[in-house]
């Protein structure tokens, strides 16, 4: 007990304790909501546990105990939102608010589809080209708000929101123009330019998990390395803390802002590739946004904008998202998981409140101790 107390009161650990408090509180309130509406909360927790582990706790020690498909689908769902989370987090470290992950994702998805369908190369060259083109397209989409911010001080929130809509309609238009496209999707991507894998499908009981898992793993390492280990990353963080001081210290603030948005865009572009040549094997003409970008904001927020945090919160949000079929099969409505995820965001956003509360609590403890 005293250990937990100590941990709670340790100001240097707020970065970890506050999100965990937020998660626990959200689940608690979610549980109360379920109890009040006459839903068995066990159904929700069992579904979540089964989605993330593949283990069916109702059928322990039978041949139906474990189903790898659930784990595969869980990871498949977590991949794109982890990447959009990285995108938002990266920009945020430079003090930029990237609302445009959605649009960067869309152009990335389109670029991957186009290069996959139009090129015909051996897989060893084709696949890297396809993935790089997604990152480049995303970076280009991040470059526009980046340069507008750097040169003319146009607020990146305004520009990125506009560019989301531009991306949606432009990609829809271009995808429809590809040879063989119908009104709702393009033709299947080239087998040499897809992340899908029969091997992974076979070991995960035909889930849609794909090689994108490696792309995400590398992206997390790249994020961590740039931010924490390079002088460029140090400059970015410094600009995020105080652009004026950084400029005075001789850093190229405008250049850094631009690069930061481009790298953020590249991460979101890769998220697009996760969808268009991973989860799906074709480009989709979308009716509206699918909110991967906005999920990314939540992921980055909960993850405290650090690589490992984004990974963990990406997995949590992915779990909540992919648990929905099982939850509903257990009689828990679609809205409950949404309520829980929204509460997490709400509570994390309230982190200063929690910190204040923890500090007062610490003071009280100290006084009592005396």
């Amino acid at each position: 007990m005293s250990k937990i107390k100590k941990l709670l009161l340790d100001e240097t650990k707020y970065k970890i304790t506050v999100p965990i408090i937020a998660i626990l509180l959200s689940f608690l309130i979610g549980t109360i909501v379920m109890l009040l509406t006459g839903i068995n909360p066990l159904g929700a927790f069992k579904a979540l546990a089964r989605t993330m582990t593949g283990i069916n706790f109702d059928k322990l020690f039978t041949d139906k105990m474990f189903n790898a498909r659930y784990v595969g689908e869980f990871l498949t769902t977590a991949l794109p939102i982890t990447l959009t989370g990285l995108s938002v987090a990266f920009a945020f470290r430079t003090g930029l608010f990237n609302i445009g992950a959605e649009g960067q994702l869309l152009v990335g998805a389109m670029a991957a589809t186009v290069t996959s369908i139009m090129l015909d190369l051996p897989a060893i060259i084709h696949l890297p080209i396809v993935i790089l083109s997604a990152a480049l397209a995303g970076a280009l989409w991040g470059f526009v708000p980046g340069i507008l911010k750097a040169k003319y001080n146009v607020h990146e929130v305004v520009v990125t929101i506009m560019m989301n809509y531009t991306a949606l309609h432009m990609t829809n238009y271009l995808l429809k123009k590809l040879p063989g496209s119908s009104l709702i999707k393009t033709v299947k991507s080239n087998p040499s330019g897809t992340l899908q894998s029969d091997f992974i499908a076979s070991i995960t009981n035909n889930s849609r998990l794909h090689w994108g898992i490696i792309v995400v793993g590398l992206s997390i390492l790249v994020f961590w390395y740039i931010i924490e280990k390079t002088s460029f990353g140090f400059e970015l963080r410094s600009v995020g803390f105080n652009p004026d001081a950084s400029k005075y210290a001789g850093m190229k603030v405008t250049r850094n802002v631009m690069f930061s948005m481009m790298i953020a865009g590249a991460f979101a572009g890769l998220a697009g590739a996760m969808l268009s040549i991973g989860t799906f094997d074709y480009g989709r003409i979308l009716v509206g946004f699918e909110n991967y970008g906005f999920d990314g904001i939540a992921v980055a927020l909960l993850g405290g904008n650090v690589a490992i945090g984004v990974l963990l919160s990406g997995l949590l949000f992915g779990g909540l998202k992919s648990a929905q079929p099982l939850m509903q099969a257990n009689g828990v409505p679609l809205e409950i998981a949404k309520i829980i995820s929204s509460l997490i965001v709400l509570f994390v956003a309230m982190k200063y409140g929690f910190e204040m509360w923890l500090r007062t609590y610490a003071k009280k403890q100290e006084e009592e101790g005396k």
């Binding site: 490696i214 793993g217 949590l316 679609l334």
Partner: protein
């Protein structure tokens, strides 16, 4: 290096999975603290023998598309058919359930989830399920599926299709009769997206209108979306401004915008009408007391389709064939009650229906504009 990366990543995944499992467990005691909860958890255990008494009939699962279970259209209609079946054959509450999809990325895992649960029948309404259904049918060859409104050629998938052109023909007749009475000469058709299936609605509608009055103008447009009510309202406004008296929409949720525009106009003293689609939309069109802008509706009886196939599964008569639901077998129809149609018109519509059933009138499946192109 890269092998280590993967290892590291997988370890992280496992750790998180464990953390998540623990955090869920941490909750439980918190939940149980209020004393009332414990009996709630125990209750099912007590009930179990009661549930067992009426023996398991069969299990049915519905996957909705992104419209949701209360879309006042396909998903809801199919679910109502399943509910009716459940009532008639005393299915217990555990035996019929639905999963709502949030995006098209959910279709495949949702279908697989029910297949893993080994439901006796899995129902998916709508052509949007075509790809995922094709894939899942192959992965679960022993699982019985029903796909409504689209055709998957697999021995374990029953495909229910509708003679939409026949139903649309009837509402076309109704539209023409109503317009004639009001001295109007223009009606309109708004489709969701411009492809074969929706063109059947257009074809039947214009044929119906012209069967009554060959000189009537039928305006045609496509909204490009099935779930954009705002777009629907814009298109409706355009049609009414062009002089359309009645709009027949085959556009799902987009059509809700058409109905809204009609309501607004009627409340401002204009005289305009809407013809509903998929199910009886009369209630959606009510603007005051029990007056509605819905003249009549072209009902695609997805409930009949769901009910029929459920019954087939129960009687072990399920086949993975194409089942056509048309005027003759009650698969398409106008509502039994149409407060906005007078008895004379209803008789006339029934006359036309009888002629179609008897094969005296063959309703075209492609609109004239397409036929002329070829």
């Amino acid at each position: 290096m890269s092998k280590n990366t993967i290892k590291l990543f997988l370890v992280l995944v496992l750790v998180l999975a464990m953390v998540a499992g623990c955090s869920a467990k941490v909750e439980e005691p918190v939940v149980e603290e209020p004393v009332v909860e414990e009996p709630v958890v125990e209750e099912p255990v007590v009930e179990e023998p009661v549930v067992e008494e009426p023996e398991e009939v069969m299990t049915v699962g519905l996957i909705t598309d992104i419209g949701g279970i209360d879309d006042k259209s396909f998903n809801q209609g199919t679910w109502e058919g399943i509910l009716e079946f459940a009532e008639d054959f005393n299915l217990s509450e555990e035996e019929y359930k639905y999963i709502q999809s949030e995006s098209d990325a959910d279709y495949l895992p949702n279908l697989s989830t029910f297949a893993d649960e080994e439901m006796d029948l899995i129902v998916a309404p709508g052509f949007l399920f075509f790809d995922s259904m094709t894939e899942v049918a192959e992965l679960y060859p022993d699982q019985k599926f029903l796909l409504i409104d689209s055709v998957v050629d697999a021995s374990n998938v029953a495909s229910a299709v509708f003679a939409e052109h026949e139903g649309s023909f009837l509402v076309g007749v109704a539209a023409a009769l109503k317009a004639q009475e009001a001295g109007q000469d223009t009606v309109a058709f708004l489709g969701g997206m411009d492809f074969g299936l929706i063109q059947k609605f257009e074809a039947g509608f214009e044929a119906g209108v012209w069967a009554v009055d060959p000189d009537m103008t039928v305006l045609v447009d496509y909204a490009g979306a099935f779930n954009d009510a705002q777009k629907g309202q814009t298109f409706a406004s355009k049609f009414y401004d062009q002089g359309a008296y009645i709009i027949y929409h085959a556009a799902g949720g987009t059509g809700n915008g058409v109905i809204k525009e009609a309501k607004d106009r009627v409340q401002n003293g204009e005289d305009v009408w809407v013809i509903g689609v998929d199910k009886d939309q009369y209630d959606d069109g009510i603007y005051e007391a029990d007056k509605s802008v819905i003249l009549t509706s072209m009902m695609k009886r997805v409930d009949v389709a769901a009910y029929t196939v459920c019954e087939n599964v129960l009687n072990e008569e399920f086949t993975g064939d194409i089942l056509v639901f048309n005027l003759a077998n009650g698969g398409v129809s106008i509502p039994a009650e149409n407060p906005n149609l007078n008895a004379e018109w209803e008789t006339e519509i029934q006359d036309f229906a009888d002629q179609v059933i008897a094969g005296e009138i063959i309703v075209p499946e492609a609109p004239v504009r397409i036929l002329e192109e070829d």
